[in-house]
Each structure stands twice: as C-alpha cells, then as structure tokens.
C-alpha cells in the first residue's frame, strides 16, 4: 500500500502546536459565538477541545473582543488565533493580550509603518501570521488581469508573502480558500508549487452539514492525497464541533491520524436486520472510544459478514433475530439481536486496556 508522500514544508510553531515540516496535520475550527460573549466563547472552546480541536480561531472586530482575549487564553488549553481584518491596532492589542496566532493580510493593513509595527510585535512575541486569501475578496486589479482564477489567488497570496519576507518575517502559513472546488484545488496546487510555507487548507461557503462535509471531504481529501496541506479547517454551516468531527474522519480515512473507524455494509436484498439503526447505535455507543485506533464492523449478513470484515478488530453481524459477535474474522459468540451492541461493547472493554 503506498503511503501519502507529504510535501516538505517549513515548520512553524503556533503556541504548543507544530505546523509543517512533517508535523501531523492539525485540526482547526472557529468560534461561532461572538468572541466578546466570554462565557459562551469559553463553553464553545471547551466543547471544541473535547471534540479534538487543536487550534481555535475567533473574529476580533473591536475593543470588546480584545478585552475577552485574556479570559479566553486563561480558559483554553489549545492555541488561539485572532482573525483581524485591516485594523493594525487590534492586531497589536491582540498580541499584547497574549494571542498565539494572527490571521491578517499584511497587504490590507495600510501604511508601511503600520505593517512594520504589527510584524515587529508578532516577531517579538513569536507569533505566526496566516495569510488568508479568499476568492470572494480578491483585489480588483488582480481580478481585472487574471479574472477569478488560480493565478489571481496565487498572485494575491504572494503579494502578502513578499511584504512579510521584506521584513524578514517567516513564521508564515497561507490559505487560498474558495467555494468553487476546482478553483480551490488549482489555487492550492499552484501555491504548493510556488512556496514551501506550511499551508492551511479549507473550502469556504461549503454548505450544510451533509453537503458541506461532502465538499470538504473531497477538497481536503484530494489535496492531502497529493501531499498538500499542513493544517486544516472544515468549514460548515453547523456547530463548529461538527467541523472537528468531520475533519478527524477525513484524516483517519487517509491514515494521517489514528482513531476509531466504524465500517458498515450497504444494505442489499440479503440484509435481514435493521442495519441503519444498528450502525447508528454502534456509532453512538462507541463515541467515548473515538481516539482508539480500532476498526469496528457492523454487517448485515451473518453468512458473509465476519469474512468480509475480517480486517476489522471487532464486529457484529445480524441475522434473523440473532447476531454474531466477531473479532478479526473469528466468531466469538452468537447472541440475540437485541444484545448485539451491549455484547460488542462488553467485548471491546474486556480486550482493550483502558477501553
């Protein structure tokens, strides 16, 4: 089996998280509650951390958000990034307040003096900057020359990069997000060819939970399979915790991260159990085990099930009111259908240390 050959990128440090240079692909999300609503923001940070989120970003649009940063830093275990548009004072204040990362486009900050002030402060604090180019807000002159294209996206990113490089600042990561999948793919490929800074992957306006997950899975899956991408956010019009759960599945499917993998067979004319609800029941029952590197199979057919799922660590297969519990293709016991999930859980707890 070929493994993914990840593109060599420089490494930066965002708080305690390493990005690029062979570090594991890290998962980010963004607060959907207002940053200034400190209690709600802390609650969401906690929920995101418990779901496995490694980096959390929030919008900083005014003094009230700045005042919130210190409390959020105290309550957060993961590094925090301030997302700032244009305003260099907010960037300086966020750095003073102890933020771990900035997302700000240096080309949009304004005068040279303002850019220099932000970059100097970030450099002194050891804080990296993400350049975030978005197809929806490309500079007019680039759109005039190149239309909305990968070339325009790349050029927009490089303009910001050159500003930072001129100031000898290299703790850079870059994103070139779009909502149009082919444009997003072409932009990241061009960027990956042009620079060796670590790349932050994402697709914008991806849609509701299911549609957005499909689009993100394709976008991120395709680029990651080409070795492109050092950190990522799955953007969904949904609870940000869902973004993290989807991101974890994407990384696990490509074996870029270990964890629980539940497989279940599609229903066919041979199925004799209610496989939909059985699979969902197993998924729910095993939620606390999501970081264990196990494959668990939920099969509809007692005849072929254990054999077809012989690569699974554990599994169940339904029959006519009865079911089988199996492990690595070997049948462990036969139980009434209603006890299948409970018996599966019992077996996993028995065999997995700490499970």
């Amino acid at each position: 089996m070929e493994n993914i050959k990840r593109k060599a990128t420089r490494q930066i440090r965002l708080g305690k998280v390493l990005i690029g240079g062979g570090a594991p692909v890290s998962i980010q999300s963004m607060l959907s509650v207002p940053t200034r609503a400190v209690d709600a923001a802390l609650a969401q940070i906690g929920a995101l951390e418990r779901s496995g989120c490694q980096i959390i970003r929030f919008a900083v649009t005014g003094e009230e958000d700045i005042r919130a940063i210190k409390s959020l830093k105290k309550g957060a275990a993961v590094p925090l990034i301030a997302d700032i548009h244009f305003d260099h004072k907010l960037a300086l204040q966020a750095l003073e307040a102890g933020i771990d990362g900035l997302r700000i486009n240096p080309g949009n900050i304004g005068s040279r003096a303002k850019v220099e002030a932000v970059v100097k402060a970030a450099s002194e604090s050891g804080v990296p900057i993400r350049i975030g180019v978005n197809s929806g807000s490309l500079p007019k002159e680039l759109v005039a020359t190149h239309s909305v294209s990968a070339q325009a996206m790349l050029e927009a990113a490089l303009q910001h990069v050159r500003i930072l490089e001129d100031l000898n600042f290299d703790a850079i990561k870059i994103s070139v997000k779009a909502s149009h999948l082919p444009l997003m793919l072409a932009s990241y490929r061009a960027l990956s060819d042009a620079v060796d800074y670590p790349l932050h992957l994402g697709i914008t306006e991806s849609g509701t939970l299911l549609a957005g997950s499909i689009k993100s899975a394709m976008a991120l899956g395709i680029l990651l399979s080409e070795g492109i991408g050092d950190t990522l956010r799955v953007s969904l019009t949904a609870d940000p915790v869902q973004e993290v759960l989807v991101a974890k599945q994407i990384l696990r499917n490509l074996e870029l991260r270990k964890g629980l993998n539940i497989i279940s067979c599609p229903t066919c004319g041979r199925t004799r159990v209610d496989l939909f609800s059985l699979a969902t029941e197993v998924e729910n029952a095993l939620q606390d085990y999501s970081d264990l590197p196990l494959t668990v199979a939920v099969m509809g057919c007692a005849v072929n099930g254990p054999g077809e799922a012989r690569e699974a660590d554990f599994g169940i297969a339904g029959g006519d009111g009865e079911g089988l519990i199996f492990a690595r293709g070997e049948i462990v016991k036969k139980v009434p259908e209603k006890q299948l999930v409970a018996e599966l859980l019992r077996l996993i707890k028995e065999r997995i240390p700490g499970g």
Copy 2:
C-alpha cells in the same frame, strides 16, 4: 482552471447508458428491498429514478428473484443489473428474463462449460459483465502470496478478465472495492494502469449517512480528480436514494455534472441570523430545482455577503431582522428576514425559464 483529464477507456453499452470512452460518469445504486418483493422493488426503482439514479442493481439469489425480473424490467426506465454469486443457471435465467447487465465473477462460476454458456448468452444478448473484486472476499491463494494488498486485488481482477478475454468477450467493466481507503485507492490506480476497460468505482462498508458520505466523497473524489472512473456507486448504510443524492453532489463538485449548487458561509462571530436553519430552508425549498445548473448562496453577513458570493447566480444575505436578495453580486432588494426564502424562490422563478 485546469479541468480533469479523464483516462481514455473503452466504451460499453448497458441498456441505453454508455459507460467509458468519454461518456459522462453514470450513477448507480442497489435495491435494499428484496428483489422478489416486486411491489416494494418497483416502488424503490421509481424513487431511485426520480432522484437521478441511472443504473439499478439488485441481488438475484433464487428462482423468485428471477421471476421478478420481467415485472421490474416493465416498470423500470433505467437499465437493470442482476448481482449473482457463483450460480450460472441464475445468470442464464436473468439473461433470458431480459436483464441489461450482469455482475458476476467468471472465475467463481465453476466449470469451463458453465462459464462458456454464460458468456455466450451475455454476448448474444449484448449484455455487459461487471467483474467485482472485493477486498473481503479475495481468493485465499492470492492473500497467501500478496496479503490483502492492491497487488492481490489487481491480480484477482485480471484472473477474471483473462477468462472473458479468452472467450473473446470484451463488454467488461471492473470494480476493486475495499472499505480501507488507501487500499481502495491503490487498487483502482493499479487497475487503471493495467487495463483500459471502464471502471466502476465504489468503497464498501463505508458507514452511516454522514461518515459514509465523507469516506465515499474522499475515495471517489480522489480517483475522479485523477481521471479514474466511468461509473460509480456510493454505498451507504442508508436509503439508496441518499446514495444517489450524495453521488450527484460528488460529481457536481468536480464539475463532472451540472446542477444546483447551494453554498453557505460558515458561521463566525459576525453572523447575526440563524444561518443553519436558513441554509437548510433554502436547500429544502430548492429541491425541485436540483438539476438546474445554478449556484445559490446563503450568506450570514449583509455587508460582505453579496461581494463574497458574487460568483453565485442568486443569493441571500442576512442582517438584523432584515436581509438582502442578490443576483451575481448585485443587490436586487432588501426584505424582512422572514421573507428571504420566499423572495429568493420568486426571483429564481421569475428569471429562470421553466424554473
């Protein structure tokens, strides 16, 4: 923007559907009700056809299923495939009953005489055969030599291919499905390098609706982006209609098929409307327009929304109780938030002939 360069494959005909040789990637699904339950099967065939399914497969495990085929053929507008394991008599009977395609592995049929009988009958009926290799049921001797690997999958497929080629039968398509994503990718890549028969893509035991859609979107997305794949099935532990809807989204995201594309921005601290429910409401309201090649944006922010979604044909952006309707970045009107979706629908109907 680079387009996907699809790999050149031979073309076969399955009923009225062309597969391979530059034909559009077609969408398949499989009945989850028993084939012999004719009324239920016809109802599901109808639902699948309405959802956009182009080819429907069902298990044929005995005489009762054979007897159902004639009724199903009468009621179906799309080509039908009989999925048969081992039994050459069932294959011959399915052909007699007018089936459009067979999924049967010639190496598993038995004696040379039986294989020849099936291949001769398929050839005379102009019916193609899909060779379907599955990582869960690889021949023991191949697993002994190659373990469960892409090499074993490829060799298993080629053994079946050689049998058909020996009999001068070339109306072949091939699948090499696995539930393990890296194995599935490596197997299809090896197969695509080795043969120019059209390939049927799929990942097995992919999981529940969301998890399975993510895995299928990655598997199919990655291969399609490499130009591999001529027809596909998204296998889900869910209603087969969902398989078709997910497959359509995968093809649309890569622009391998036209249709409605709803984009919505992730929520951030700037959002002032309930974007989750708004996006879902739009998705539901536009269900009847799913084949129109339109992009519709649902944005949370009235300030940036129309600009960020200027590539969308139509869009809405929320504000404080008020919202904007826009088209190609131009604001069409401002309306109370509660009327946003109704006004959007009205605008689309007004501007789209037949919409």
